[in-house]
Amino acid sequence: MTHPPDACPECDLLLRPSRPIVGEKIVCPRCGYLLHSPREQSVERVLALSVAGLILAGPANFLPLIGITFLGNSHEGTLWAGTAGLFAEGFWLVAALVFLSSIFVPLLNISLAFLISLHLHFNRPHHLLAHWMRWLQHLEEWAMLEVYMLGIIVACVKLSDTADVQLGFGLYAFVALLLVNVMLTGSLDGYLFWQRIAELRRKLHGQG
């Protein structure tokens, strides 16, 4: 199969079509953009990781991340309570942003990755596949689990000065969700996914 010509998305340099083998990396000769880095069994890995992510999302959101004990009083905080607390204090704009970047977008991304990889794995065409993939590409940078993790660490250090800090079970689920998300992003071969989506699209229109 021949590959169509290609252009670098960040500097528009026309490139000769190339499809490296698994493990190789192709960068744009002019601006250094990473053009292709094929992964082994990309679709299957994304499917498996997204299932793991969907399972972890519940405990990561609703089980306590950290708890404090201060003068005999103790209190635990969940990811969800962080958003709800800001909302209750009247900072609805900040609350919405925290909700989107730490809860909603990561979950939406994992759900989209699940839907796309499920259809690709079973060769099922769907008229929304391209839409899902575009949304996934647009939303990727608005999922900020790793930044939230750093926020948890800084908060723990600040609190450890005045109170006893305990790590909750939700924190382990959150770290696992974060790792799944990072691995999912790394396993998703955009070039391959778009190629498969285009094939299924032709199949859909051929039948219809």
């Binding site: 998305p9 026309l14 708890g67 905080g77 930044v147 750093l150 948890i152 609190l159």
Partner: protein, 206 residues
């Protein structure tokens, strides 16, 4: 080298922003492969970036002078600005964490504002030098953008955790939190609306 270095647009080809398909210019408004909208370059890229950047500069001021967090302990109310929070960490001998917060909350937003301004000038005035260098700066700005949310997330966790009964201890967000969050989001959007291909276009005198 000369011919091989030409951009796709100079050859009458438009790359679909979503799926990467190369389509002939003016042949179609939507990508034949994925159905996404086709644009040679992001429409009104410089105008959008400039508008978002001006808003960010304006919000950067209240973000830094108003308190971002209020701590209420036994009825004693302490207000912290972004800088104040960093000094408090230094005083408690937590210099590494203070450095981390300083980088995420002060240096990164400032770098983004100044860097994006310089990039805008570069593209607008068609400075003909070192596109690789400008590209590296553009990528750095895109990469670091999200990490400024550190302070906002930290406050959200403190709000959730420090809520002890009987007014023993409570953390409330401050007015600067909204302004600071807006600066982070607007600069991220500004970086996203700046089409990096414009940095290279002037090389071909399009």
């Amino acid at each position: 080298m000369g011919k091989a270095e030409r951009g796709a647009l100079a050859q009458g080809l438009v790359r679909c922003h979503a799926c990467g398909h190369l389509a002939k210019l003016r042949r179609a408004r939507h990508c034949p492969v994925c159905g996404g909208a086709l644009h040679a370059r992001r429409p009104h890229s410089l105008q959008h970036t400039l508008a978002l950047l001006i808003s960010s500069y304006a919000l950067y001021i209240p973000a830094n002078i108003f308190p971002i967090m209020t701590v209420n302990q036994f009825g004693v109310i302490e207000r912290h600005t972004i800088i104040g929070g960093i000094f408090a960490l230094v005083e408690k001998d937590m210099a590494p964490i203070a450095a981390l917060v300083f980088i995420a909350s002060i240096m990164v937003p400032l770098l983004k504002l100044l860097g994006l301004s310089a990039l805008l000038l570069n593209v607008r005035l068609r400075w003909q030098r070192h596109p690789q260098w400008w590209m590296r700066m553009y990528r750095l700005i895109v990469f670091v953008g999200r990490w400024s949310m550190l302070d906002i997330f930290m406050i959200s966790i403190l709000v959730a955790v420090v809520d002890l009964s009987g007014g023993v201890s409570q953390v409330i967000a401050g007015p600067a939190a909204t302004a600071f969050a807006a600066v982070v989001v607007l600069t991220m959007l500004a970086a996203k609306s700046l089409d990096p291909r414009l940095i290279w276009d002037k090389q071909n005198k399009l």
